[in-house]
Symmetry: C2
Subunit: 237 residues, 2 copies
DNA sequence: CGACGCTTTGAGGAGATTCAAGACACGTGG
DNA sequence: CCACGTGTCTTGAATCTCCTCAAAGCGTCG
């Protein structure tokens, strides 16, 4: 069935508008050809549904095509801790590689569409194609890097954390071709606070403070950044 | 010169007492043979000296043989932030993989001896030996996992953080065959505080509090854990 | 339209920081 | 071997940031 449509409409890795961000980034054209043959496309989850659960066996790497998601862990009291937010073109699943079992849960923040690269294909690709594994290693180390950035941020004040958070989402959306100054914040205050390590009331207070300074404007979940420079100045000392 | 001694005394990957923790872990015997041929052994750094610097090009993966080290990043005011402490058998350098340039600095906390697996050998190994890259990917994802653990910890009180920190070092030393209940804390209060995201005065207060509760005993840098169960009870709610 | 969840806002309090000063340990040189 | 100086560690007091608890406002969706 997918093949019947392939001639005209099907999206493959080669013509995906995310190919500059997703796994194909850094791969040769011919290698992308190998990739497109083994990827499961068009997996859907609705808001609140899980993409995978903590504790479940690792089944492969996931690439978000549209929508956004959160990656969660749980402390031993069972409280959610948001480890990362995931935007289109970003990869998911590295939390399952080292023990072959996920230690995080990935949940859709809105309807998401994702591709899935199953474990056994992953191994096959590796053998035939060393540069593929190189790319994968790079991406996984990337995750490590971004966790270090988060550590740095955790030393700053609540105000700085919120400022950097908003600027960071803006930057990532820009790279993806969306507007960097007006977008939907699909996560709740609760989730933002949880991610930044501060109470949701604190998030709310700071967001409203930024509004009163005319740095941002927020209605419902729609965010406008009025002065990104000023926003960043909160972090740049 | 190393070859002349090889018959009797030289330590290679095959007879290294860290082979169950280091890169060889998870590799077949024959693969370890490939590895031992390309590793530079017996690199030394004195206390305070860097193993590599943030900003320098990535030259390969480092494996600590003896001594301990700290992995640092810097915030934009130039303050040190301790990202991780590294014990014997643990790997270093993943912070340089994704951009091919280190974004952390690694510094010896005492005299260290380490092995070095250079980039070009890394690539060669990958091509001839897929399982090797598999192991590398696993280790890098491990780093990611431990950063997530750190995030979880950053939500807890200062007391819990110190308790978990001490228990964690104890566990890691145990795996390495050292005593889990009596060891040298080679890092300063300052460095511990920096790692845990709390002031060094707070570390001092808590450590002394644990002493007064007869959970630990500390003289100079020598630590004795008198009641590990009680220590962990601080974290287990 | 009503209910539920998310967000806002206020007041009070707890935990950790900061600043400051003194104790201690270690290495150097007399 | 002891005196000295430097850096690390400890301890106390004042302060501050952020959290917790509580209640009200707003939006959204059946």
């Amino acid at each position: 069935m997918p093949n019947a449509l392939a001639t005209k409409t099907a999206v493959t890795c080669e013509n995906c508008n995310l190919d500059k961000l997703c796994i194909p980034k850094g791969l040769k054209r011919s290698d992308v050809g190998d990739l497109k043959l083994v990827v499961n496309r068009n997996n859907i989850r609705q808001k609140g549904e899980a993409i995978y659960h903590a504790g479940s066996p690792f089944r492969g790497i996931v690439a978000l095509r549209s929508g956004s998601a959160k990656l969660l862990s749980f402390d031993r009291s069972g409280n959610e801790v948001v480890v990362e937010f995931i935007l289109p073109g970003e990869l998911l699943g590295f939390d399952g590689v080292s023990s072959q079992r996920h230690n995080c849960t990935a949940v859709a923040l809105e309807t998401v569409n994702f591709c899935h690269l199953p474990t056994y294909q992953l191994e096959a690709l590796t053998i035939n194609n060393p540069s593929f594994h190189q790319v994968l290693l790079q991406r996984s180390c990337n995750q490590f890097d971004s966790q270090i950035q988060k550590t740095l941020l955790s030393r700053r004040s609540a105000e700085e954390r919120v400022a950097v958070f908003l600027a960071n989402i803006s930057d990532r959306l820009k790279v993806r071709g969306y507007s960097e100054l007006a977008f939907r914040l699909s996560m709740s205050r609760e989730e933002i606070g949880n991610y930044l390590g501060i109470a949701h009331e604190t998030v709310s207070r700071i967001v409203n403070h930024f509004q009163s300074l005319e740095i941002i404007e927020i209605k419902a979940k729609q965010l406008k950044i009025l002065d990104k420079k000023k926003l960043l100045s909160f972090y740049q000392e």
